[in-house]
Subunit: 338 residues, 2 copies
């Protein structure tokens, strides 16, 4: 099969690509070709795999090709992140809305030419939920909680969920939208996402670097590890439409933890010296965005697909440490633990 | 003030225009200029009013002008209807989605140039509600019922609600979305809307013309008269943001009636000979669309603005008859009653 991952050079995309290449198949079909489309170049190990084609540049420019170049499946992960979309309204509209529409229209044109609807998994986000003045947030965000997003990123993700539902209803694609919880611990550098600190307060101290937490310790939020997120995306791709249920987006599993619980876990796993590298200094902009996010989540539909969150945040930290140890930069990434 | 009505030559738009011109003011401001934008020419009586400017052609082409031409308020009613959008997917995307985006972006560019956010009322629709396989429809559609639209028209309306919420949050407009119930009795000819028969089974027999109802008599649906719909749109424009509450769309009032109750009302108001002109012949396409629509509605937020539905469908029919009697075509429109 020929598979496309948009955002294929990104954090989730590149891990998904590695997992799929290691499996060698998806839904019982051998992966002959894996196309990684991203505005940034793909990591060298992926680009070196003979099954991989790399398309670098804005997604909008690649969508035209798709009309003539069959793919059997798509993981659509490419996205501008929440902080970027707040700072640059047009960037968000272009990257999240126009690009998705162009992708869907390219796939639609193929079915109009007689092709089978392409299966597509869309990474939506817990950011579709937020408190509108008319509707306070429930304590637990369920699959069927009314989304009233309070960021442009959340609005755009939710609009894409609806486009995907309609293109699916019309038979233009076989689309499934899955709302990712905040994926932690991300390696590398902080990014423009307002949620970036959730990884920073674990990643930086493990590397021996001080980290400033911009929100208070009692901030509660659903988290998922990269591994469980990728397993979930694959399962959502592989399940039958009946098992997915309807055309409405579902919540992926998340572990509801406070910042304090994250830091307690860090102390248990890596010791008090590492924990002590995290200090608190409130950033009103970040704290304001985060205060409008989900504080807890449920994911009954994902649970019915056999998907569950990690049992503790300790497990999520241990997974990050194990990933670092397996990589080339273990010494730097885990310098704080030496 | 300068006011724009998109869809200003249409059924609701032209009535709204007449009501506003008769009032002479909106929200305490004198109406100096009323711009009617529509793909069809405005009715002659409206075009003849010295306060009226007519812009005929696709809305997309007018939006560019708006960047340079201040308006103080907008009623955004222009839309392709449900049947058209099912038949022509691209027409729906262009007329309902791209045009709204262009309108919002024109208004945004004005605030970026220092102008005050333009107040905008958007006519959304009860069609945003529908039963997804994962979520059956509740018996009563409330303001905060989860929208899972089952038509392209409903999807596009709901996407526009979210765009308007986000442009409002960013301070680019002062937007309010109001979900119209099915507006009955429409004069004139049947249109491409799947709901067209709801008017036809009253309008045609009153004119002495046989009418075929494409759904069964037990079909239940929320209805509103043109007059209550127009009063509601004006009230939603005039209310404060606090009274509107949040940025999420609200339901306008609807009277929940069955087709049978509509026909019983017709018999009470116009007699058995008129009623006998309606026969039943199922149209699977129409019946299929309508079966996925709301069967009852509540409108607490609109009620709190002082907006309520008619007390009976008899009142809605009497209103239609009175409107016909006041117009130039009374003899034709009410031929069945002679």
């Amino acid at each position: 099969m020929r598979l496309l991952i948009t955002g294929g050079a990104g954090f989730v995309g590149s891990r998904l690509a590695r997992t799929l290449l290691a499996k060698g198949e998806l839904n019982g079909q051998k992966i002959e070709r894996l196309i990684l489309a991203d505005q940034f170049p793909a990591p060298a190990d992926l680009a070196a795999d003979p099954r991989v084609s790399v398309k670098t540049g804005p997604l909008l420019t690649h969508c035209k090709d798709l009309e003539n170049e069959a793919v059997d499946g798509v993981f659509h992960l490419a996205s501008a992140v929440s902080g970027e979309c707040e700072d640059d309204f047009e960037l968000g509209l272009r990257s999240n809305l126009d690009s998705t529409r162009a992708l869907l229209d390219a796939l639609r044109k193929r079915t109009e030419g007689g092709a089978k609807p392409t299966r597509l998994v869309f990474s939506s986000s817990v950011a579709v939920f937020g408190p509108d003045d008319a509707y306070p947030m429930p304590a637990v965000i369920a699959d069927d909680t009314l989304p009233t997003p309070q960021t442009s990123y959340g609005i755009q993700k939710h609009i894409c969920e609806h486009l995907i539902a309609d293109y699916t209803r019309k038979g233009y694609i076989d689309g499934r939208s899955a709302r990712l919880m905040t994926v932690t611990v991300r390696p590398g550098k902080p990014n423009g996402a307002a949620s970036s600190f959730f990884s920073g307060i674990i990643r930086e101290p493990l590397a021996g670097i001080p980290s400033v937490c911009p929100v208070s310790p009692d901030v509660l939020h659903p988290m998922a590890s990269p591994r469980s997120t990728i397993d979930s995306l694959i399962k959502v791709y592989e399940c039958t439409r009946e098992a997915y249920g309807g055309r409405t987006a579902l919540n992926l599993p998340g572990l509801d933890v406070t910042v304090q619980e994250m830091l307690d876990a860090l102390e248990r796993v890596a010791g008090p010296k590492v924990r002590a590298l995290v200090t608190f200094q409130r950033d009103e902009r970040i704290a304001g965005i985060v205060s409008r996010w989900a504080k807890g989540s449920s994911s009954k539909r994902a649970n019915s697909l056999g998907l569950f969150p990690e049992k503790s945040f300790d497990d999520i930290i241990r997974q990050y440490i194990a990933d670092c140890e397996a990589g080339p930069n273990a010494a730097t990434a885990l310098k704080g633990m030496q």
